[in-house]
């Protein structure tokens, strides 16, 4: 782990604003989300989304071609490219050709992925984000820390400071007043801008439509007031048919912010009239940037089913402690780790992948049925392979590092426990750690291990024998559990054998991407446990995750 990464985690877990805001949000989110989904069969709904998006991911090129044809038939200009730099150049050219000086933007993750703002500013354009949270982080010179709530890491005092600097006037840390001021400031920018840039939540191939959802209403202004509108959309947002947008529009607001629907949904197909009666100059950029590569990789193609609701962040126990900035500049949380590995480079995920503790919370809530923890394990495996370090060493290394990380988290959690004490988060933390595997949990090591204690247990002889697999947890930390198991089995008329050669279950190696080490552990254990003629193999180790 690099010093910079360690420091960023340390800063994050000691930032009481951040952990407080994230903690409060994730509690409210759980109940809010459940309420928003009342009367809806979530499994059926996400089955439909996975089907629609899975189909699209398997037919990216075909759907992009259909989209291009449909959108151009309606009068839009479509630009398709695999190269992120070409997107920046294209937007700059459109700006030049239309005499654009200032640009207003509604949220586009795709544009953040390719650092479009920096490119346009370098070309002399004035670019303003208009989503309130995005504008705040832009003015602060920071990056979004959450895909749906970009400025969740900042306090109203910090926002007041940032706004005050922008308007050259001391503003009070009063949220409604700050919002009102932002409205007035940005309204002028909307009215002056010659170009609006937006993202899209969905792109419909058969109609050439783009669907944009917002709560603030900024996208309606971005797409209505300036004469030129450029949409930047990743090809993974494509769906085949208009009706395919329905399940996504049903799940996205519910999963993202626990709303039944966002305040605004705009479905734009071809240029509509400008306020002066002319037709909009509408450009749609279909950006690939490794999405097609991803769709061709069986281990990662399902990541394209993501609808960017960020619910995986909202239920992630690690995200709740460290926030988004630790993850990098664009995409955050578990899905962000995966997207960063592909859209940026595998190496960029090297440190952040280690944050996943494989608890599986995100799997339960993902509306796109993306197996995030499995993909992170696969990233680990590929990173371990790519780096070519001794796998055993690598595994040991990761554990030590992570263990230190979790100690830091525990310490931090206890210092900022006020917001959490009530909801039992502190109580839960050691639990999810022990869920993981014995090596990363934090029980004290027992004075006498089970393997020694076992030798002194007097058992009634029996013809019926079972082999007992203790695992490191019972063997070294909780030997009394092992003794109890023997007692119970004896009572059932069974004699217990403890094969001495049994070893670590392999979970630590597996969770660190050292699959070959894990496989070695498994082989040793199977050999050891089946050496004696036994009826059953009994284990009392809680499995990390059933697979």
């Amino acid at each position: 782990m690099s010093t910079a990464f360690k420091e960023s985690i340390h800063t994050a877990v000691n930032n009481a604003n951040l952990t407080g805001a994230l903690g409060r949000f994730s509690e409210a989110y759980r109940t809010g989300r459940a309420k928003a989904y009342e009367g809806i069969d979530f499994e059926e709904l996400r089955g439909r989304i996975a089907e629609v998006k899975g189909y699209a991911a398997a037919h990216l090129d075909e759907l992009a071609t259909i989209f291009t044809r449909s959108a151009e038939a309606r009068g839009a200009k479509v630009f398709r490219t695999k190269d992120p730099k070409a997107v920046n150049r294209y937007v700059e050219t459109v700006a030049r050709e239309n005499g654009v000086k200032s640009v207003v933007k509604s949220k586009s993750m795709a544009s953040e992925e390719i650092h479009l703002n920096a490119h346009l500013e370098k070309a002399g354009l004035k670019v303003s984000e208009t989503d309130l949270g995005e504008w705040i982080v832009q003015l602060a010179g920071e990056h979004p820390s959450h895909m749906v709530m970009p400025a969740i890491h900042m306090t109203k005092e910090q926002v007041a400071d940032v706004f005050s600097k922008e308007v050259n006037e001391r503003l009070a840390a009063d949220i409604p007043a700050l919002v009102k001021r932002a409205r007035a400031e940005l309204r002028t920018k909307f009215l002056d801008a010659e170009m609006g840039i937006s993202g899209a939540n969905i792109a419909v191939a058969e109609t050439g439509s783009i669907v944009i959802i917002t709560n603030e209403g900024n996208a309606r202004l971005v797409t209505s007031l300036p004469k030129t509108h450029v949409v930047i959309v990743g090809v993974e947002k494509l769906v085949a048919h208009f009706e395919d947008a329905l399940p996504i529009l049903t799940a996205l607001p519910r999963s993202a912010t626990a709303q039944l629907l966002t305040s605004y949904v705009s479905i734009i197909t071809g240029p509509s009239p400008n306020p002066d009666g002319s037709l909009k100059n509408l450009h749609i950029v279909l950006m690939d940037n490794h999405r097609t590569d991803m769709s061709n990789d069986p281990a990662f193609k399902e990541a394209l089913q993501c609808i960017r609701c960020a619910s995986c962040l909202n239920v992630c126990p690690v995200f709740r402690l460290v926030g988004g900035h630790v993850f990098g500049k664009t995409y955050t949380g578990g899905i962000g780790t995966i997207l960063t590995a592909w859209f940026d480079e595998l190496k960029k995920s090297e440190e952040i992948q280690g944050l996943c503790i494989q608890c599986g919370n995100c799997v339960d809530v993902c509306p796109g049925k993306v197996p995030i923890p499995d993909m992170i394990l696969e990233l680990r495996r590929r990173l371990a392979k790519e780096q070519g370090t001794s796998l055993k060493e690598k595994a040991a290394f990761t554990i030590v590092n992570n263990r230190r990380l979790f100690h830091t988290m525990l310490r931090a959690a206890s210092t900022v426990q006020k917001p959490f004490a009530k909801d039992g988060f502190i109580r839960h933390l050691p639990m999810f750690l022990s869920d993981l595997c014995e090596f990363r949990s934090l029980p004290a090591v027992a004075e006498v291990p089970f393997r020694d204690k076992f030798l002194k247990i007097e058992q009634p002889r029996s013809q019926r024998k079972v082999a007992f697999y203790a695992g490191c947890l019972i063997d070294f930390a909780y030997p009394e559990t092992g003794e109890a198991v023997v007692k119970v089995l004896n009572k059932a008329g069974l004699e217990v054998i403890f094969p001495e050669e049994q070893t670590c279950c392999g979970a630590p190696a597996r969770f660190s991407g050292a699959y070959e080490t894990a496989a070695g552990n498994a082989t040793s254990n199977i050999d050891a446990l089946l050496k004696d003629d036994v009826e059953y193999v009994v284990s009392a180790v809680p499995p990390a995750r059933s697979r």
Binding site: M149, R183, E243, L246, T269, S272, P275
Partner: protein, 185 residues
């Protein structure tokens, strides 16, 4: 079973919209006039009103209103909408289970009146209520409209400290008037 209107009202009010219902077109016009007076609409910046003509005004001389409400105009431009406190427009469909209004917003004045002023008054035929979005999708399609707009409650944000704040870039109030007599579109 609650009626579609009851469900709509419940859902829309839960997201801070104001929901009213009148029987006749005449009563709807009276409601709007009263509303403009209560809001002190006048011929001054930020106090004006813009009204996008819809079927509610069919066969009615607009002068009847502009004479009584100085500052009201039916000529919806960016400048007029930007200087207005109230924007009035008609919406063609409503979704009961989410409290949502839907319109073909390709005509830009419909977007200006519902996006720029602080208050948006939306006139909706009561018969235009559909149970859910799937039903509305059978009535409007991108093939017929280049800009479909859905509106659910006023503009909102929670971007500062997760505190819900109403009225960012769009209206801070959404006043919905269902009119029984308007019939289906």
């Amino acid at each position: 079973m609650p009626s579609l209107y009851d469900t709509f009202k419940l859902r829309a009010e839960a997201v801070s919209a104001e929901v009213h219902r009148v029987e006749t077109r005449e009563k709807a016009l009276e409601f709007i006039l009263d509303f403009l007076r209560t809001e002190n609409v006048a011929d001054a910046r930020q106090s004006r009103a813009v009204w996008v003509k819809g079927s509610l005004l069919d066969g009615i001389d607009g002068a009847r209103f502009t004479e009584r409400i100085p500052g009201l105009t039916f000529d919806v431009t960016v400048d007029a909408a930007e200087a207005s406190k109230v924007g009035i427009s008609q919406m063609e469909w409503a979704i009961a289970n989410t409290g949502t209004l839907v319109t073909d917003a390709a005509p830009v004045e419909r977007r200006l009146a519902s996006a720029l002023p602080a208050i948006h008054v939306a006139v909706v035929p009561t018969d235009a209520l559909e149970p859910d979005m799937a039903a509305v999708f059978t009535r409007i399609h991108p093939r017929q409209s280049g800009y479909i707009s859905m509106i659910t409650g006023p503009s909102r944000t929670a971007d500062i400290e997760r505190v819900l704040t109403i009225g960012v870039h769009g209206p801070s109030r959404l006043v919905i008037v269902f009119v029984d007599e308007l019939g289906r579109n």
